[in-house]
Symmetry: none
Subunit: 173 residues, 2 copies
DNA sequence: GACGGGATCGCCGGGATAATTA
DNA sequence: TCTAATTATCCCGGCGATCCCG
């Protein structure tokens, strides 16, 4: 479980949407947002301590991430760039620390990730930086699909994922 | 501020919906839930009783969508914009919740639906917002017929209608 | 902001392909 | 020089909004 801060009015709004006694905030929000309800198994997921340092060493595919592969959310993305961005978001969220370290990967001239738009602009002519949602990072986007796969591959390798899993992810882009 | 507990997956989903850096959980949720954003001149907002889910609640919605297609009411409309509006009204009445979720669809710069005229104005130069009758929503109207079809298509897809039915509806616009 | 509808045309984003560099 | 890797130009399709027409 995670905690988030919401303003008073929003809090009351959510509370008012309760449909049965004992319904949790998650259940209400999932319903209102049109997400699929949480089933039994997923509770098990949260058994992973959030503090868990780094699943790095080619370990724990983090169930969450392998779920992403067949999620409708990923499938719903029309373009390579959208799938690319969603995967980056998910990778960050799976392990912010490992992601942060891995962020140092770069090409011959261009750097691929930075905390600001300007940093990316500074290392190439037309990098077309984009913010990665839910993340303090920006990525370059002026790349063909092959390079997007490449970037994800480099990133995930640096994060410690197994080659097999990396390939599965890259195929989806 | 209040804190609420949400499950991991939901947390990640929310984080991913960030539209600009520094956007808070409240802001994101308000946007996704179709609430008005919290800001200075917000006193005006609270004038609306929060319980007022939709102005139309209580209406008997007898208009079956498939009936609409061959109805004289639709045929009587002279212009694409009128047929467009009638279809939107009917979609809302067929399923307010699904409509509300689907309302998030947008173009490259413009959002297509909002609860206020101003929100639509804010995302484009000349959107020409119009209220959708029988609905708490406004829609942009500065579009050609192709785009009106497009908007209905996107909306209905998000609402879960079949591609075949969607096509039948769009043809009528 | 006050005429409204919407076709037409200009612009932008995605990303394949051409150009460049090691 | 030839090849492989990387960059970024540039084409295409889609979106926005100007502006023409009823």
């Amino acid at each position: 479980m995670k905690t988030i801060e919401v303003d008073e009015e929003l809090y009351r709004y959510i509370a008012r949407q309760t449909q049965h006694i004992g319904e949790s905030a998650s259940e209400i929000l999932r319903r209102l947002l049109g997400m699929t309800p949480l089933n039994g198994e997923e509770t098990y997921l949260s058994a992973y301590p959030e503090t868990e340092e780094s699943p790095v060493a080619g370990f724990v595919q983090t169930v969450e991430l392998s779920e992403l592969l067949n999620s409708s959310e990923l499938a719903a993305k029309e373009s390579a760039i959208d799938r690319f961005m969603l995967i980056l978001s998910s990778l960050y969220q799976a392990n912010p620390d490992a992601f942060t370290n891995a962020t140092e990967i770069k090409g011959r001239k261009r750097i691929y990730f930075a905390r600001t738009e300007e940093e990316l602009r500074a290392t190439g002519n037309t990098t077309k930086p984009k913010p990665v949602p839910g993340t303090p990072y920006w990525v370059i986007s002026n790349t063909n699909t092959g390079r997007k796969r490449n970037i994800v591959g480099l990133l995930m390798t640096a994060m410690g994922y197994s080659a097999e899993f990396i390939e599965q992810v890259c195929e989806k882009i």
